[in-house]
């Protein structure tokens, strides 16, 4: 699997809820989402974002991942421009019941990992049906 050649994935623009006054570009980060018995994990590629720039929220089962980048202070003449940089934004509807208190996130090498532990389901109530 490691021998595969990486390809350039096109960056898709994301639309924040309302139009912002600032003319800033938002991209939808590429994500991996997987589920284990205990949790749902979201891994998002957000190069250039620092820990301070990450904003996470889970409201009404909507997980919002936002990453703000510091404005670039690029000087000089552009010789080649193959990619654009901007902020990151993506929303997901989480179907599973999540234990809000235990949500954890980490950022390493421009990759954000969010752990959403599943809430321990309430003990199912057994209803005995008696023969009448």
């Amino acid at each position: 699997m490691t021998e595969r050649e990486l390809k350039i994935q096109e960056k898709k623009a994301a639309q924040p809820g309302d139009e912002s006054t600032k003319n800033e570009t938002y991209f939808a980060p590429h994500v991996d989402i997987y589920e284990t018995e205990r949790e749902v994990a979201v891994i998002a590629d957000m190069p250039g974002v620092t820990v301070e720039g990450v904003e996470l929220s889970l409201e009404d089962n909507i997980l919002t991942i936002q990453g703000h980048r510091a404005p670039q202070k690029q000087t000089g003449r552009i010789i080649l421009e193959e990619y654009e940089s901007g902020h990151y934004l993506r929303r997901f509807t989480v179907a599973e019941t999540i234990d809000q208190e235990k949500i954890g996130a980490s950022l390493a090498d421009g990759v954000l990992t969010v752990h959403l532990p599943k809430a321990v389901p309430a003990q199912p109530k057994k209803i005995e049906v008696k023969l009448g």
Binding site: M1, T2, E3, R4, E5, L6, K7, I8, Q9, H30, V31, D32, I33, Y34, E35, T36, E37, V40, I43, D45, M46, P47, G48, V49, T50, Q74, T75, G76, R77, I78, I79, L80, E81, E82, Y83, E84, S85, L107, D109, G110, V111
Partner: protein, 152 residues
């Protein structure tokens, strides 16, 4: 900026020269509008690069999320810069099921011809938060030098 040598000036004025100049100016204007933002060159080799030129150096940046500094290999030979590396980070726990798989892993290798001669001894590279920044100092022969004017 147009460079006009004395010898290139026609002996007689071309009556259309002024129109030609205006047309060129308009062409340039519309081009710079159209190219802003979306007229980028689509790279077809990973990683996509941005190159900036300053008076004494070249700056090359690339977005390499998930690539560790140890997995990245840079080399410079003459005027060719080669970037190689891999991204390897699949979770292989048992009992996990993927909802989405958009992040790819694999290796990459890209060589680019630098637009100017650089000083191979002074190359700096940093990898911060998934962004690689390579700083290449231009060779002293191509660095612009200020010429002092002395008053007598």
């Amino acid at each position: 900026m147009a460079f006009v040598r004395f010898t290139e000036r026609p002996a007689f004025r071309n009556p259309w020269a002024e129109f030609e100049r205006i047309r060129q100016g308009l062409d340039e204007l519309s081009r710079s509008y159209a190219e802003k933002g979306k007229g980028q060159i689509r790279a077809n080799v990973y990683p996509a690069l941005n190159i900036y030129e300053e008076a004494d150096r070249l700056l090359i940046t690339a977005e390499l999320p998930g690539v560790k500094a140890g997995d990245l290999d840079l080399s410079i030979e003459g005027e060719t810069l080669t970037l190689q590396g891999k991204r390897d980070r699949r979770q292989n726990e048992a009992g996990i099921s993927y909802h989405r798989r958009e992040i790819e892993s694999g290796s990459f290798s890209r060589a680019i011809a630098l637009p100017v001669k650089v000083d191979a001894e002074h190359v700096g590279a940093r990898l911060t938060n998934g962004i690689l920044t390579i700083t290449l100092l231009k060779a002293s022969a191509v660095t612009p030098r200020q010429i002092k004017v002395t008053a007598e």
